[in-house]
Symmetry: C2
Subunit: 286 residues, 2 copies
């Protein structure tokens, strides 16, 4: 999925917020915003895949901020907040169709993203939010086909910290189906995306067969950056579970197939591309 | 007040929304966003006054959209919605210190702005909102000095449609003090700002001594664009009542004095410059 006309403002706003989180130096932030605008303009002119453009721009921002993880504290909080509702989510999963319920829980987890313009989840309403979303269900529901493929070789591409705590529930269900799970996190901190530490916090290392990375911490998947083992698993997978919008943006343009996109459509361009409305939850096999 | 690092994203977002309001042509909107980014980058590099930069960029957008008033319908609605709470506001003004209450009512009116990022007033809570804000009062309160100067020659610079309905209450109070009111609206439609039609809708023509314009519809005041009569009134005024952030951005850098800035600080850069918190209401004489 290519950059849409809405992406530049959203990206620029996120960069401003990101700078503010870790710096009060108006002049430095001004220089970063200037450079970011130049880069975004260039990326937008060639309608780059948004997540790839974002990756380039955020890398520049991190360098100029001289900070390799501005979202550290936010990720920690997201993990802890989500861990607090894990028992609730587990009860929901255990009543009825466990696999389906775990898919939905993991997609609700995908809402916990603090950077998308106009999309905010209020921590204090967390529990209530979870319950409401759970009742709401999926706008695109390919869960049965996805379940079928999850008996084989599964590559699970994680998205955010926080969310990853609920991903664990789905990994457990895939293991019940006797699937083999290669769980892939970002290879370096970027935005609020999950890295190896978050996977350990969520205990994914206890349930998945292996934990791999996407290499250099792209926001999503940049194929040229994939480590050899990760690429090999993705190529030979029976199904790739792709969490979130950034992985969607990249893989909807990429060479892999049998991809289950599990996401909450948090912005208009992605919702339009998927064919749903903003706020809808999707479990779509392509 | 010069552009801050937050302004480019806010401006770009507003332009996107503005395009979407009147067009579904993704390709055209893409071209507009590209051109807007080029211009905003240039304006930001020289830290132009934000309202002046916005004026230039929005004029380009209107030209490329081939639309001279994308906010027409929104202004109509804002006027009508505000007219509906006018009796309530009038009752508030009439109990106690009328002038002070009218100042506060007119500043609450300044909240009714649909374009500032992160700042939304929900129409349905209008009445409740008015009452809550009224109780809240002013963060900077130079009302007594302002009242004193309002016995003389007053230039009243309006801001938005909707808001202008409540401005009428303050103009009435100035007339009670026997001040002479030159009421200034935008000379052409721009954003949701009030023009001569909105002044007539609000009945300002029945209470003010004259209605003038800012010339070519700048967002705020661009001195070179002021018609001769408007400039003369501003130069010889005992006090200039300046509503809203755009007028503040321009006049805080300009050559006029004895200015009463009546505004709701709707964004962080303006709040910081004024020395209050976002959301605060201000009646500040400078």
């Amino acid at each position: 999925m290519r950059m849409s006309a809405k992406c530049p403002a959203c990206l620029l706003n996120r960069i401003y917020q990101e700078c503010r989180m870790v710096s009060d130096d108006e002049e430095k932030i001004g220089r970063i915003i200037e450079r970011a605008m130049e880069m975004i303009l260039e990326e937008f002119r060639r309608r780059e895949v948004n997540a790839i453009a974002s990756t380039r721009v955020h890398r520049m921002v991190y360098r100029m901020l001289d900070n390799d993880d501005p979202y550290r504290e936010l990720k920690r909080r997201a993990n802890e907040e989500t861990a607090r509702i894990l028992p609730l989510a587990r009860r929901y999963v255990e009543r009825g169709d466990r696999f389906r319920n775990a898919v939905v829980a993991s997609i609700i987890g995908n809402s916990f993203d603090y950077g998308v313009l106009g999309h905010e989840v209020n921590d204090s309403n967390f529990r209530e939010y979870f319950e409401r979303e759970f009742r709401r269900g999926l706008a695109i529901d390919d869960v049965d086909e996805i379940r079928h493929l999850c008996r084989g070789r599964v590559v699970y591409l994680a998205d955010n910290a926080g969310e990853i705590v609920l991903d664990r529930l789905l990994v457990e269900e895939i293991k019940r189906l006797e699937g083999r799970v290669s769980f892939v996190v970002r290879g370096r901190p970027v935005l609020s995306d999950a890295t190896i530490e978050d996977a350990r916090f969520a205990g994914i290392d206890e349930v998945a067969d292996e934990i791999l990375t996407n290499g250099q911490g792209a926001i999503g998947i940049i194929e040229e950056e994939l480590p050899e083992d990760t690429r090999e698993r993705m190529e030979s997978a029976d199904i790739i579970i792709s969490k979130g919008m950034a992985n969607y943006e990249c893989l909807s343009e990429g060479s892999f197939d049998s991809i289950a996109f599990l996401l909450k459509a948090k912005c208009e361009p992605v919702a339009r591309d998927v064919g749903v409305r903003v706020g809808d939850m999707v479990a779509m096999l392509r």
